[in-house]
Symmetry: C2
Subunit: 508 residues, 2 copies
Amino acid sequence: MTTKKRIPMRKVSSAVHLTLAVHRESPQPMHRQIYDGYRAAIVSRTLRPGQRVPSSRGLAVELGISRIPVLTAYAQLLAEGYLETRVGFGTTVSRSLPDPPVSAERAKSHSRSTIAAGFIAEHRNLPESMLHPPWGRGWGAFGVGQVAFEQFPFKAWNSLITRHCRGGNVKSLDYGDPMGLQALREAIAAYLGPARGVRCDADQIMIVSGSQQALDICTRALIRRGSRVWMEEPGYRFARQVFALNDCRIVPIPVDREGLDITAGVDLRLDARAVLVTPSHQYPLGFTMSASRRLKLLDWAERAQSWIFEDDYDSEYRYENMPISSLQGLDPNGRVIYIGTFSKVLFPSLRLGYIVIPRGLVKHFQAIRVAMDIGPPTLLQAVLGDFIREDHFSRHIRRMRLLYSERRTALLESLHSAFGPDLEVTGQHAGMHLCIFMNRIHDLVIARRAASSKLWLVPLSSSYAGESARHGFILGYGSTSAEQMNNAVGKLQTAIYGQPKHETRDRE
Amino acid sequence: MTTKKRIPMRKVSSAVHLTLAVHRESPQPMHRQIYDGYRAAIVSRTLRPGQRVPSSRGLAVELGISRIPVLTAYAQLLAEGYLETRVGFGTTVSRSLPDPPVSAERAKSHSRSTIAAGFIAEHRNLPESMLHPPWGRGWGAFGVGQVAFEQFPFKAWNSLITRHCRGGNVKSLDYGDPMGLQALREAIAAYLGPARGVRCDADQIMIVSGSQQALDICTRALIRRGSRVWMEEPGYRFARQVFALNDCRIVPIPVDREGLDITAGVDLRLDARAVLVTPSHQYPLGFTMSASRRLKLLDWAERAQSWIFEDDYDSEYRYENMPISSLQGLDPNGRVIYIGTFSKVLFPSLRLGYIVIPRGLVKHFQAIRVAMDIGPPTLLQAVLGDFIREDHFSRHIRRMRLLYSERRTALLESLHSAFGPDLEVTGQHAGMHLCIFMNRIHDLVIARRAASSKLWLVPLSSSYAGESARHGFILGYGSTSAEQMNNAVGKLQTAIYGQPKHETRDRE
């Protein structure tokens, strides 16, 4: 039933004619409907400041409803200041309400021009268009950073979650330590020493949501706006975004088989406040930084009083040697900030990683972090701490190292049989991706075309900031089984040449 | 057993004398110990570039161990570039290693001076010392922002977690939507309309880790460095930190019983790019912004082409009226960015909140967010989405509203019986805290003293940026039962006067 009445005024002095619709069947309670109707009329100036509104009794009669919802609505409108009560005048629209605002129509065009005219904070080099490149949208071969999820030890993980949910004390709901859960930080410190050659204790470890946030925190803590940062060329595209967001000037420094060419950097005579490196497995090319370059880089940082951000994103998976020890462990001067993530060894939607902070900077980092987001969530930190301590973590890494090694070998074999032995491949000794180089193709064009048939090729040229980009593809093999690899490489051939060059057959 | 030998050199041309200790009982495998010993000697220049190392066979014999760990260590040292093999010379320390680095001793003093001399990014007004004020350390009366955790519906929550762990598809481990899980965003949009009068759909909602991160994202998206921001005076201390981190200039604008005094702001003739307000329940004073001020504020924002950040942190709990409708719902111009959090209605360590973004700004916000931390974690978003959709959320809010109302009434009664009817109290109509004002005391001094006896009093003066701070306390009552209230107020009296002024008795 709808009660809809034009409410006549009884006093000439204040002629309120408000058409009010009250629907009994509405999910909105009646008092809310009355409140909304009056508020809208007052805001739009249909009812003018000083105008009287009907008495609650009168309005209830007019609407044919009980007086209670009317009283509730009026009380709310009075409490919020839309109405006021004056002795001798009854209830009127507040006289303190301002003049009509700018009309919505004019406002709308304003808003548009405001945004266009830059009344927002613009960050050069932070393009919206690169948010969702077509090759980053899907799951399967050859998506980069994709993990063999089906191999994840769900049972162990879920039972730890259940344990923490059941046994969790009430205090675990409160704000935690902004540096992260102590138990997790101790587990990570205990892991990092033997496994990664990182020298630290738990007090230096800050839990973050992944390497992207780690890099953001490091940049905000250590690099002033407008300062220069050295980046590997080619390098990690998302790192460029975080530097752009923080208004840093990025200086691309070439990478060769020994890693970042520090001498080339020095020769540019462009001092930098920091350098971002991936010494264990250079992203994307996959080279390991040589001992000589490591020592030179540490020496440069100390002389230039600059910082080294070491992003050690996937070094747990190394197929021919022991994992390469971290740069941080070589650094006597506290110039290296070490960044680790669980996105590659566990799974990305966990959103957990860590920073190992030089001792003297811990408080400074913490002040930045608290201002940013107070701290990380608690439950999954507690679960991860136990997962590491109870050896599920190292067991999982060992299993995955074998699995990815097998997938990698299958990919290399398929690539060589499809493209011949001269195909230039780099980065096959570690991690979950490798690079292939191709002359006389345009990798962006091919990647776009391949994406439309659900093959996810990250074009190598997109990892270059400068002009002299090489073309090719970064091929992730984490989510493709060895059995499917030949088929996937066949699709890759088709994407590049229009059709497979050789006969390919699945290994199955 | 420890095998410790001085290894004699067989060839005069390269006299390597390396004292190497290999412990069979060490948790480090032997190859790692050999690797570490050689690497340390090479890095410290105990072994010089070009010097020969013993043959693997010779070293194994010297150490009295099998040759395999020696071969493994040498392979690693070769792979990383510490050693090289030259025809006719055997294995030597790489000649490409740079000159000795700056000595560690000199370096240490460097690091200290570097940090002191500001070779970090400094953010004015972001003090490390305010990270852990003594009154922010503990749990219990009268901590602000503390929730009645023991009332949380753990059973429903945990069973949803279990459901998502068991039934979770493998894809939920992958990176999610940077805006947040679609199901959660839809649940929030459906809640915000009727409950908060917010006009939006799910596409405009970005899931964040709480209101602190929300404010950081808004600031990075919309306010250029050095621009002015209006803040309520007194206002939310942690918001000052996020503005300081982003190098904004904060202009304190006085608050009275109607909320932010917009006219006073305009009279200052200090234009601002944005204003942060808490219109539903001003933090800390607890006033509701009047209708007239709301309309004036919206009008100002449109004329000045500025943005309004509406932090609606605890408006679900309102004791005398309906919850106050949001400012966002009144805004025809897309100038309001609405910020909500689950820290108060659920629990802080969940680290989930949201931003309602004006339609035209969604892509811009998203680009900022992706550069910052890629996106939020998935599992707890999925659980929260179901928690809202299956009505646990609104049921919990209804229960808590009753509970907090009871605690608030107990607190008011105790306060009046302890301090007399003239005690000035504000903010008691909503939320989980109220303010009391006290003349002739120094609230910081008392708060420090009280903290040492585990009474957590947030001094009101700490919420002021300017000189004219009033003294008093912000008293949170969320975590104190009605039965304990009298006792807690007795402690408050003691903290202020040295002893209770009147006899107080627990209600039990």
